[in-house]
Subunit: 449 residues, 2 copies
């Protein structure tokens, strides 16, 4: 990237790709580099195909956490460290990382790079960017360090000093970046009722999923009244979604012997429900066997996965704010109001159009992917649909179908993870023409509904 500004011919050609296309290209390059690294003999314990390691790399870079091999068993310590680096780069945004490195090296940032960063973090104002990058790193590394220390208290006694500490660091980084990768094939099932794990891990992924704009607000303004509209929506809606998921999961699964029914006391069942309610919004860890949940619970989880968490966070999906505007716009229409408003701020037509476009593209991606996977795969339709929603929300929860997929199915899931992370909007800019027709037409009338 530092070379982009040097030769204007090259620069012109690179910029011609448009910032979203550049960003997508960088993510792809990182995926391929990660796949190659994980395929090196010292990175895995043998027997992995190129498809296996590429899938792992894509899953790590997009912070999804869907796996086709056993992260703890099939990768060596070096391979696991590679996955950790890929999660961190993918989660914090490769570009944020690059800008930070370049800035710390004293390289002057041109407009080209700034545009890329802007697309990645969805930031509108250049002025706040460097402040945001600083917040990103302070918060991320701080949270991960504190999380790792707390998790070590639980993991070291069970696994010994070396493996316990490594597990603590790995799971802390995986949690904050909402990557969902675990060193254990059953994810965190062994710690389903452990109080530390049930507080530390969700805290890490909830904070990571709020988005750095919200964290920046909280860190600098420290007062609800002065928060931006975006932060207010994010915080309120996150609470609503968490309690909705918690109550619904508990009610639906209370007597299911495969999940909550396995625990005798109500407190354990509520603790386990808490974890399963917060993880679908993009984290992807599980403390029960997700394959055992009821169909209705799976559907509820799928909707949470599609909504995802916050913009400018490690989340995929359509994002909480998009979901909020969808609901608000609908309510406003039925109230015959001409503008949306909440928290004493109004939202314009442009926002609504953006939300509509984003939602339509997202639904097209998800439905097409389920369609293509169901053509070539004979498994349960629900579990296939579940994996695709999980991939699009970069969640990583699985009902068991992903490891069974053939090469075509894996390519579909990889594509969906990539699109879920790089963003439907970026994809839209990518594929669409940018020319605007200047002809104006008289209004037409059609009947709807």
């Amino acid at each position: 990237m530092a070379f982009v500004g040097i030769r204007s011919g090259l620069r012109w050609r690179v910029l011609k790709l448009s910032p979203p296309a550049l960003l997508a290209s960088f993510y792809l390059v990182l995926v391929v580099l990660g796949g190659v690294f994980l395929h090196l003999p010292f990175a895995n314990t043998g027997g992995l195909t190129v498809m296996d390691t590429l899938f792992t790399s894509m899953s790590a870079v997009t912070v999804t956490g869907l796996t086709v091999v056993d992260t703890g068993g099939d990768y060596t310590l070096a391979g696991q460290a590679g996955i950790l680096v890929l999660m961190q780069l993918g989660g914090l945004g490769l570009v944020t990382f690059a800008v930070f490195v370049l800035a710390s090296l004293g390289v002057q940032l041109g407009l080209g790079q700034r545009l890329i960063l802007r697309e990645d973090l969805n930031q509108s104002s250049f002025g706040d960017l460097m402040q945001l990058v600083k917040t990103v790193f302070v918060v991320a590394l701080g949270c991960e360090a504190v999380g790792a220390i707390l998790l070590a208290i639980v993991f070291v006694p069970d696994h010994g000093w070396g493996p316990g500490l490594w597990a603590a660091v790995f799971h802390a980084v995986s949690a904050f970046n909402n990557a969902g990768f675990s060193l254990w094939s059953e994810s965190l099932v062994d710690y389903a009722t452990d109080p530390v794990v049930n507080i530390v891990v969700p805290m890490l992924f909830i904070i990571g999923g709020l988005g750095f704009v919200v964290l920046n607000d909280i860190r600098r303004k420290r007062s609800w009244r002065r928060f931006t509209l975006h932060s207010k929506i994010m915080l309120v809606m996150s609470l609503v979604l968490i309690f909705y998921g918690w109550a619904t999961f508990a009610i639906l699964e209370w007597t299911n012997p495969g999940t909550l029914g396995a625990y005798d006391d109500a407190v354990s069942r509520l603790v386990v429900s808490w974890f399963q309610a917060v993880t679908p919004r993009t984290a992807g860890f599980n403390t029960i066997d997700t394959g055992e949940i009821r169909d209705s619970t799976a559907l509820m989880t799928m909707t949470l996965m599609l909504v995802g968490a916050g913009s400018t966070s490690t989340a995929g999906g359509i994002k909480v704010t998009t979901f909020a505007v969808l609901i608000l716009a609908t309510l406003a229409f039925f109230r015959r109001e001409s503008e949306l408003h909440l928290f004493r701020r109004s939202l314009g037509v442009d926002e609504v159009m953006k939300v509509l476009a984003l939602t339509v593209v997202s639904m097209l991606i998800v439905l097409s992917a389920i369609f293509f996977v169901s053509i070539t795969h004979d498994g349960s339709f629900l579990s296939l649909a579940f994996e695709i929603c999980s991939a699009f929300g970069t969640v990583g929860l699985t009902m068991g179908a992903t490891p069974e997929l053939d090469t075509f199915g894996r390519l579909v899931v990889m594509t969906v993870m990539f699109l879920g992370r790089v963003g439907p909007l970026t994809l839209g800019f990518f594929i669409a023409t940018h020319s605007a027709a200047r002809v104006r037409y008289p209004p037409g009338r059609i009947f709807l509904g």
Copy 2:
């Protein structure tokens, strides 16, 4: 209704319900009357519960065609005639019918009734209403008569004069109103490759599904250039959806021994594909066992069912024009155009807001219904989701789950059929407050996607 204008106190209270609520109430009354009639001893062959006959009545009035009993076996000729009347009233619009009767009796129509009619046909201009009502009846009865005569040519030799003629009339009325009721438990499977049935029945339900606004245009303007924007969109999109469904069904099912694979020659397979491609848009007849289709075909069929056919037609679903505006708005956004246009006409922000609200409400209804049915029913998730989409699109295709539903599940399906027919917009007006806040707020900024 003729009494509405007589006592102003009553009128005030009735109108206070708002036109959509009045319309919904009338539909509900018709459903209950139909259910009571079908429960009378001479209408059925015995053994039917109140729930069975109410379900049949709801299915007939909403022109859905989902059944929990055998229409040909469990209802007498009188019961079948009752179903035919319910389909005709429900399909042409109870209110259109009432207005026509009142007008023919010389009763002066007040604004109250006109408003109801307007909501039912989604017509914006009062001036065209009586013309439209006339077209409705000329086209409907004309098509049904011609269709019955043509179908009789096929059905009479197979079933004898009496039953053959009755079957021809019943299926012609059922087809034109897109009701999907058949006197035979296997629907039209026996006529899967019959050329007359494969032309007459689809012609009837395609014409019925275009909507009377389009038919009125075709009848009066007879020139593409002079058609309204609405008609142009409907005709083009209908063709696109038909060919999309035809090609996709043929490709996906070509070698499936449960469906197309049962036919040796390519022509038969194409004919059967044709019928299965046109029926999901709201008709509901089938010439194969829908329970045997592949998962991918089921998903494709579900999307066609959710889209439905035309406004001011016998269709349910979100409607073709709504779907078209969703796609156009998305394309316009990604092209960075500030207004939608096609066929040299523009569409305003109001239309887009209406489409967004309608789509969100529809998706909420469908997802909630699938959720509630999946809580209480242990069957295949896909087939449950299929029935709900079929009910919302008032289609009537079934993968077999509906007859297995318990009372709660049947109530959910009945509610979805009702909402699918009366219209998500009507529902929205129904439940929402109508007050508009007059306070204006400064614009806020949030991050999406």
